[in-house]
Symmetry: C2
Subunit: 337 residues, 2 copies
């Protein structure tokens, strides 16, 4: 792809590049006739400014980096798509990287992004990550950073949903519909997102005076298989749960599978609520009641926070996007006594 340059145009017209540069950017000081000629040649030659030369000149890349645990997961893909759209609207390109939920890859992603001289980074840490030095290092190097979806509380701006409150609402709703043995399926405890949701769950139990059963709380690695075996274990208990809260999409899906594989009826034998996307809920059967998250808002807010930092605002902001329970067929109607 051989592109025409300003120099080429200048040569053809026997003039200087600087004049071409001015004309092409509509800066005063070029005679209208000459400007016309230059524009015509540029048009005909399909002139496009070389973004690398411009970057070099201005020492600014107009590029931001994104790190997600898994783009092929609808949840993240939707958020990324929105960040991308907002970034483009503001003249930024995105480099999207995928940590595959591992710490090692996450470090590599950041390495790649800093090598590319991105001006800022929006990241959702992997579930494995417990050491956040690699992220804090960016901050120290004055690279704008925004966390989303998972916020380990390390003094960096973030956008998350109301984890505690939403879990509390879910638990209340289940209790009010008659459930008494409510199980909680989470990620590893190190994940603050899991900790918070579990906190909301426990709080709600206490508030309603429902006894807390530790055997009903399963917090392991987030994966289909671990969700499956955890749920089967729950169902095999002498006193199995009458409701399950799945704090992650994968866990919800695997729980659903486990329940139907045991031939149990939803919600009659076991109710289920998950942190899943509208789309996944629509597809499930019976449709799973879910915590509705405004993913696009998370995306645009995250970019907005980054933009603030790019524009020199170095305050640490925490945005909480409100998520609330949407009832579908996987939970019983609330019982009025």
């Amino acid at each position: 792809m051989k592109r025409i340059s300003q120099r080429d145009i200048a040569r053809q017209l026997g003039i200087n590049v600087s004049t071409v540069s001015r004309a092409l950017r509509g800066i005063d000081g070029v005679s209208p006739e000459l400007k016309k000629q230059i524009e015509k040649l540029a048009e005909d030659g399909g002139y496009r400014p070389n973004p690398f030369a411009v970057s070099l000149r201005y020492d600014t890349t107009r590029t931001i980096g994104i790190v997600v645990p898994d783009v092929s997961f609808n949840h993240f893909a939707t958020i990324v798509k929105r960040i991308e759209a907002e970034a483009r609207k503001n003249g930024y390109m995105c480099i999207i990287t995928d940590s595959d939920e591992t710490y090692k890859n996450e470090v590599n992603c950041l390495e790649l992004l800093t090598n590319m001289h991105v001006e800022g980074i929006i990241i959702c840490p992997s579930q494995e990550t417990t050491d956040f030095d690699h992220i804090l290092r960016l901050k120290k190097a004055h690279v704008p950073v925004v966390l989303f979806d998972r916020d380990p509380n390390i003094g960096i701006s973030s956008v998350i949903i109301n984890d505690v409150a939403s879990a509390r609402q879910v638990t209340h709703s289940l209790i009010d519909s008659g459930a008494r043995r409510i199980a909680f399926l989470g990620g590893l405890n190190q994940l603050k997102q899991t900790a918070d949701r579990k906190h909301g769950y426990l709080e709600a139990l206490r508030e309603r005076g429902v006894p807390i059963r530790t055997e009903l709380v399963k917090c392991h690695h987030i994966s289909f298989n671990s969700g499956l075996s955890d749920t089967l274990d729950l169902l095999d208990l002498p006193e199995p749960p009458d409701a399950i809260i799945a704090s992650h999409g994968l866990l919800a899906i695997s729980a659903l599978q486990a329940i139907t594989s045991r031939g149990l009826r939803i919600p009659d034998d076991v109710a289920i609520v998950g942190y899943i996307s509208d789309w996944v809920s629509e597809m499930s059967h019976p449709r799973v009641s879910f915590v509705k998250q405004n993913l696009r808002e998370i995306g645009s807010k995250a970019f907005r926070l980054l933009l603030d930092q790019l524009n020199g605002d170095d305050s640490v902001q925490h945005v909480v996007v409100n998520a609330r329970l949407e009832l579908r067929e996987s939970t019983r109607k609330i019982i009025n006594e």
Copy 2:
């Protein structure tokens, strides 16, 4: 993010940049001691070559562009993820763009990518696209291009699945399991992918001597709503179908919804087979029999074809990734007479 440059290192050591450049790239002609010093300073200063300067110098960007109709759709996200991984392995960066299934955005995406001086482009055309000039223009400008998933047959290398044969296999299977009124849900007829799958479907009907009913063929815009209303129309026929083939993921999901919303049993009242991903099938209930596509193979083959072109091979190649029917609970067992 102020990065240290070769010049900075040179200045600190009172030497010339060219020496630094050679040392850092391990080119002979630098004394071991000096090299050590340079490497130490580079290490300490966190030196990273400025990719923009390198690109400018070499007139090569090591960047490719990807255009998909919708990244938030699992199918595309999975393919893109693989392309990205393969590209990185080969030293290329990816710029991912999203046409949102519209022609207008698709043109914008290509514009953006050419502005970025990408060295090649991997694209799945939007379902709206009927005029392929914008893609052919790339080809004429000698930009390597590879199509995937949808191939309008315009003389450009591509990776697709065996559309005709897979649809034929699906139809045969349904007929053999007792279905006689098999409906076909497709995208617009202009989409060759739809045309091919429909072709396989009709061929199979003819081969088995099952009469073709035009009222059972619904080919419209691919969207949840259109799939929903088409399926409802089918179910409202005086003689409704006893099986439905959904040639796209969205159509399969909407058909599933429509069927259950009518309280019909799957597969007893209506069987269903869809072109959906393993993941979506796992999640559906009853699990939908599907045409299993090796998405990661599509991704890596697509990149491979692009790489061939990047390396100067200008032959047009068409790769067909074999997809085959996977039976689940949404179709009846085959009847042995």
